[in-house]
């Protein structure tokens, strides 16, 4: 089952590789991993999308907690949460097709951020599943480049991950 795990860790050199190394050493999957410092520059917030059986997910949570640099771990999938991913996508788009592309972009609440004679670059922020749908709607043949950040997640309402 797909899980989205959020964690707070010391913003120190090597902390990221400790997490990445843990996943590869123990054979866990990483679908995506997004990380950046928080409002407290000594802490980084990481969102990991992974999948596995309940037992594997339990081990992932425990093993992450065991890392000395990791201060807090929350399996967002265990409760109400929000997730968003940013995608930049460059599409081959000429003539009349451009209007159709813009129409699809509007439907998905995307934005055109760059245009040239033959290309159009769109910014889209949504759930990972929505981004997948957009890619499908545009069609693989026309896509020149796709850049995705991986999901970022946050708990709903009073579900807060803070030290």
């Amino acid at each position: 089952m797909r899980h989205i795990i959020s964690l707070l860790m010391e913003n120190e050199a090597g902390a990221l590789s400790r997490v990445a190394g843990l996943f590869s050493a123990r054979g866990y999957n990483i679908e995506s991993l997004a990380v950046a410092p928080t409002e407290d520059p000594t802490l980084s917030r990481m969102t990991i999308v992974t999948n596995g059986s309940d037992a594997v997910i339990e081990q992932i949570n425990k093993q992450l907690n065991k890392l000395i640099d990791v201060a807090a771990v929350m399996d967002l999938s265990e409760g109400e949460h929000l997730e968003r991913e940013l995608m930049l996508i460059k599409v081959r788009s000429e003539g009349a097709a451009r209007a159709e592309l813009k129409r699809i972009t509007d439907i998905f609440h995307g934005r055109v951020i760059d245009e040239s004679d033959r290309t159009c670059t769109i910014e889209l922020t949504d759930t990972c599943a929505k981004l997948d749908s957009f890619l499908q709607a545009v069609g693989r043949d026309l896509i020149l480049e796709t850049v995705r950040t991986g999901a970022s997640g946050i708990g709903r309402g009073e579900r807060i991950l803070k030290l």
Binding site: M9, E10, A13, G14, S17, G21, I68, A71, A72, L163
Partner: protein, 598 residues
């Protein structure tokens, strides 16, 4: 000596007094090099011995070591041995072992030792030199990414980037190594940083916000656990290395006696519960006793205390899960709980504290175990004891049986020696036939299974236990993996007794090849062995070769009477002898093979 290095470093601002008379106050502040700071930190931690090997990147640290005499340096002959020696020191003493190695090959040689300590949760602080910080990343001479290469096999590691960080980092390293689930911690110090200067301030306490090791157990969980234990019809106590590490042997003994249940200890836990006690059923697992394997498999309540359901202990995990039983698991590391088996009552905490809580709960409980259930269960366990026939082998008057040597070793040393071992058949025979009655007496590489561990580990054991009897049970394969340490033993007068069970084969490999690979002894025959007697003598020690069973006991007596000498005993043992009982790899605990089954 360091005081002589006081330097004028700070000048307070000029203070203007009334009348315009000005004074300058000068304050002396102790400023030391990074290397001196590192050694001062070790002194502050009460480190008596540091095991190491010098090299370019640690020259400043070696210089600082030279100019003091509180921390004694033990020069090994290979960095792997430095780590194993520090490891043996830690395992036999409850202290943190400390080692010092240089960059590049120094630290790569140390990796096997560090991984060995990591797998068995042994507290170590390893200091490694690194190329100068400005050269990092330039493929400098003897450069290797020490922090990267050790990351998967340390509890934590640090690369120091500022001389001011040395003292707080070493403080943290000791704290991390010994608190919670212990483990090795590496501190990598670039050469230039070890020569930069800073004021030496050793922090009095450590606070790591992202690290909060468990203490007491949850009282509600303990209540549940006690309830389940008292209602059990076929209970079993399964204890492991955690009991030794936590120093909870006394609590375990009290609990087992109070409950009246059978108790087993894993390879790593041997000695935590006295082997000569009647409630002890031996070691479980691949080469455990029949009764321990059967009781583990068929109990209805299993209390796991500081053990981790290792594949060598419970065998095939699906087979183990076929029998319904309630499992209570106490461990300081939550990730050890429910890793391989489902657990009904997890209790996270320091075993010593949790077992005390459990004992209190038991004493205050009005409920008692059903005596008739327990009697029936013991009857069953005793039947297994009879069926298993105990640990046994067919002795011979013609050829030395390895088990016989261990039995005699036990007798000659009065069961009170520190016994280190290497890895293989001899390790299993030592674990089976030397009845350990005290914790921290049995020193072996259980998790990683590192050949070459025994002799250097024995050096650390002997140093922290001067005057104690230290035996290294080994084989002709394992001993050659770190035999150069005989030279270290000579230099530092370590009267270790090497008990080598020489069967001219890599015995455990040979055994598996006999059982599972059609007697094709691929690569397991040790041809062209040295004359170990001459070799021991060449290193300045006493060598003995023992060929006949009747010579075993006199030889051991003679060797152990030589209190000041290292004696290398080369026992020519039966090359065809196998370790029994045996649960073959991938099989279940109740599929244990006894010697007559083959």
């Amino acid at each position: 000596m360091l005081a002589a290095r006081q330097r004028l470093t700070k000048t307070l601002p000029t203070i203007i007094l009334r009348g315009s008379i000005s004074f300058k106050f000068k304050v002396f502040v102790m400023e030391l090099t990074g290397a001196e700071i590192a050694i001062r930190c070790l002194q502050e931690e009460g480190v008596e011995y540091i095991f190491g090997y010098p090299g370019g990147a640690v020259l400043h640290i070696y210089d600082a070591l030279f100019q003091q005499d509180k921390v004694k340096h033990i020069l090994v002959r290979h960095e792997q041995a430095a780590i194993h020696a520090a490891d043996g020191y830690a395992r036999s003493s409850e202290k943190v072992g400390v080692a010092l190695v240089t960059s590049g090959p120094g630290i790569t040689n140390a990796v096997t030792g560090i991984a060995t300590a990591y797998m068995d949760s042994i507290p170590l602080v390893v200091i490694s030199g690194q190329v100068p910080s400005y050269a990092i990343g330039e493929d400098a001479f003897q450069e290797v990414d020490a922090v990267g290469i050790t990351r998967p096999c340390v509890k934590h590691n640090f690369l120091i980037k500022d001389v001011k960080d040395i003292a707080p980092t070493i403080k943290k390293a000791f704290y991390l190594a010994k608190s919670g689930r212990p483990g090795p911690v590496l501190v990598d110090i670039p050469k230039d940083i070890s020569n930069h200067k800073a004021e030496f301030i050793y922090p009095s306490s450590v606070n790591i916000r992202s690290y909060n090791p468990a203490g007491k157990g949850d009282s509600a969980q303990i209540k549940r656990a006690v309830q389940i234990l008292l209602e059990a019809k076929r209970p079993m106590i399964y204890s492991g290395g955690g009991v030794v590490l936590s120093g909870a042997s006394a609590q375990l003994i009290e609990l087992v006696r109070l409950l009246g249940f059978p108790c087993t200890t894993t390879l790593m836990g041997l000695g935590a519960y006295p082997a000569s006690d009647k409630q002890f059923v031996g070691m479980p697992g691949m080469h455990g006793t029949y009764e321990a394997c059967m009781a583990m498999q068929h109990c209805d309540v299993l209390l796991a205390v500081g053990a981790r359901f290792d594949d060598r202990v419970i065998g095939n995990v699906e087979h183990f899960a076929q029998v319904p039983r309630k499992i209570i698991h106490i461990d300081i590391d939550p990730s050890s709980i429910a890793k391989r088996v489902k657990v009904d009552v997890p209790v996270v905490g320091d075993l010593k504290l949790v077992l005390d809580q459990m004992l209190n709960a038991l004493r205050s409980s009005k409920q008692k175990s059903d005596a008739s259930d327990l009697t029936a269960w013991w009857k069953q366990v005793d039947e297994w004891r009879v069926k298993g026939g105990g640990l046994r082998y067919k002795n011979s008057t013609e050829i030395i049986k390895p088990q016989f040597v261990i039995e005699k070793l036990y007798e000659v040393t009065g069961g009170d020696a520190f016994v280190t071992s290497d890895v293989g058949q001899h390790q299993m025979w030592a674990a089976q036939y030397y009845k350990f009655n005290k914790p921290r007496r049995w020193i072996n590489s259980g998790g990683l299974g590192t050949m070459g561990f025994g002799l250097p580990a024995a050096m650390g054991v002997q140093l922290i236990n001067p005057g104690a009897t230290v035996a290294c049970v080994t084989g002709e394969g394992s001993i050659q993996m770190n035999i150069q340490e005989l030279s270290t033993c000579k230099q530092f007068h370590l009267p270790i007794k090497v008990v080598s069970l020489n069967n001219r084969y890599l015995g455990m490999v040979r055994q598996w090849q006999e059982f599972f690979h059609g007697n094709r002894y691929s690569g397991s025959y040790m041809d062209a062995l040295p004359d170990f007697v001459k070799l021991a003598e060449a290193y300045g020690h006493v060598g003995m070769r023992i060929d006949k069973p009747s010579d075993v006991e006199p030889a051991l007596k003679e060797a152990f009477a030589r209190k000041k000498d290292l004696v290398f005993m080369d026992f020519q043992t039966d090359p065809t002898e196998n370790v029994f009982p045996m649960v073959p790899g991938g099989k279940g605990l109740s599929e244990v093979i006894l010697s007559e089954d083959l």
